[in-house]
């Protein structure tokens, strides 16, 4: 692979001139520039990004550490992050933590070793020492979706409180009173928040959230299945199960089906995080949709601000309820939308 020296030799100029010509530096004569460009063409030269990064101390690369790539929500997030980063001239290296703190740590370390310009993290847990050190040391960093309280890093996320209230209103309106939740890990903010929001919304209707109706999940399908089985084994099972993410909802669907029960007749189901497949499940699943694309975009913009040395503000975008049939009473999709504040899906 030819280096800048080869180009210089071919063009009959010094490496300094080649570098200047290629970087659009003004003080290069038209003749020299033309010769350099010709040499680049004949040799098929491409600048070595590694060498350039070493010298300039910037890689034009962003790191993104997400909790679970197989979760369609994070896949979409990753995609929008890459899209926006590319538009801004950055590449993205994705690290998949698989909800495992040790893997998260591995990726953060690797990314930092590669001297990425900035780090986007959706923390799996309370934060590895390595990550907290990096944050303190001034590595440009932004949390997305989940965050770690007490760390001075901008957070880009969506607030599901209003949507959870809408959901509970919807469920209450359908006559459901015994509502259970499959929670995410307590170590994650989203895990805690969704339970809190649910509990508050229930309280507004004078409904309790007994401990037996709070199942501890880990954002993976398997835990959704196990927790749902536990709910079904209760002397008085819940009427509706609210899964704190889409994979646990999938697991819940598994569990219900394995018992030969039906949704929503025997038990209702709702999920946090909407995905295209929820339109086509049996039945279509009522879900809370996050503005995932916007989240990814905003996160990248905030991070790039930080890299540029500016503040990079936190952003909170609202989530919204998408009513489908999994909690009962199919919304009459042929009719005009109901006057209720709850929005309905248009599949």
């Amino acid at each position: 692979m030819p280096s800048i020296k080869d180009v210089a030799a071919e063009a009959g100029v010094s490496v300094a001139t080649v570098s200047r010509a290629l970087n659009g530096h003004p003080s290069v004569s038209a003749a020299a520039r033309a010769r350099v460009l010709a040499a680049v063409e004949t040799l098929g030269y491409r600048p070595n990004a590694v060498a350039r990064s070493l010298r300039t101390d910037q890689t034009r690369t962003l790191g993104l550490v997400i909790s679970d790539v197989l979760n369609p929500y994070f896949t979409e997030l990753a995609r929008s992050v890459e899209e926006e980063a590319r538009a801004l001239g950055y590449s993205v290296i994705i690290g998949n933590a698989d909800e495992r703190p040790d893997l998260q740590d591995h990726h953060v370390t690797t990314l930092l070793d590669r001297r990425i310009d900035g780090l986007l993290v959706s923390p799996t847990d309370g934060g590895s020492p390595r990550m907290l050190d990096a944050a303190r040391a001034g590595t440009p960093m932004v949390f997305v979706d989940r965050w770690i309280p007490g760390v001075d890093v901008p957070v880009v996320r969506s607030d599901g409180r209003a949507a959870v209230r809408d959901l509970v209103a919807h469920l209450h309106g359908l006559g459901h009173r015994r509502l259970a939740i499959i929670a995410g890990p307590a170590a994650t903010t989203t895990g805690r928040e969704r339970v809190d929001a649910f509990r508050e919304a229930l309280a507004a209707y004078g409904l309790p959230l007994p401990d037996a109706y709070i199942g501890q999940g880990d954002f993976q399908a398997g835990s959704g299945r196990r927790v749902t089985e536990g709910f079904l084994d209760l002397p008085e099972p819940p009427e509706v199960v609210f899964a704190a993410d889409n994979l646990m909802a999938l697991g819940a669907l598994d569990a219900v089906r394995a018992r030969g029960l039906r949704v929503p007749e025997d038990i209702g189901l709702a999920a946090f995080d909407d995905i295209p497949w929820f339109v086509h499940t049996d039945p279509p699943v009522t879900a809370i949709a996050q503005p995932t694309r916007d989240l990814g975009r905003a996160a990248v913009r905030a991070l790039v601000e930080r890299i540029a040395g500016r503040a990079g503000a936190s952003v909170t975008l609202p989530a919204r309820l998408v009513v489908r049939r999994s909690c009962g009473e199919p919304p009459s999709e042929q009719h005009p939308p109901s006057p209720s504040p709850v929005r309905r899906s248009t599949p």
Copy 2:
């Protein structure tokens, strides 16, 4: 961020000794090694991978260019690639081409500029000049899932012919005779092969595959919808539609539902690429499953072989049919498996 010089100063040795101590070189005294390690600890030193790469001319990084991250098949592939690469001490940078040749080109270029050690590609089209140049120039490279004929690069893929024959046997056994296919782009090998396999399998039963029953898709949901609408508008619509990937199947499901028709009563549906969601769609979708994890693993191993200067053989793994209910006659899941060679799903 401290450099090797700082460590050397702190430990009272030269940078050479620090480097040797850190890389496990034998000729370093125990005392020096201890002092270096202590200095590393107090300074929180981490070697700069950029500088190391420049010197050693290897990045311990693999590039993976896939056609569409949002497709769960590729997401899973990417995950297994990363997993195996990590086990082998490599990082992976994923480039998402979104089925766009220009984007594919962009990622290949960027990856090559970063001097990745090897490239894994699932080509969107016939191959960009940049990619073909790289292959010819000897960049270690392996095609995965899709490939480009005539290029001397190992291919890791799965062969769906047998599974497609099983599928057609299954459909024929259910009494279906008018079978249509939503094809992938003709520029991709998988796009062409699946149509060919389907046509051959039909021929074995004396069934034709008229042009009207071959819809041109692009592996995205939207095209599945459009093609299916076309099929439904035919004077004699097909009895079963076979989508060449899971996203087009999703689109087909959309189209059928939009007409108020039902699967499988009004029209049957089958798909290439099985995904967890197909168990929970309405109805569960009969699909051809690829051994995605094994594919990813094998691809990385072949690539690492190439990087090591060895041959790195092509690998072809069989796909298998998973029968569900979307083509009619729900398999009786309570009964022992039928003696037919067609395997049945156990959800």
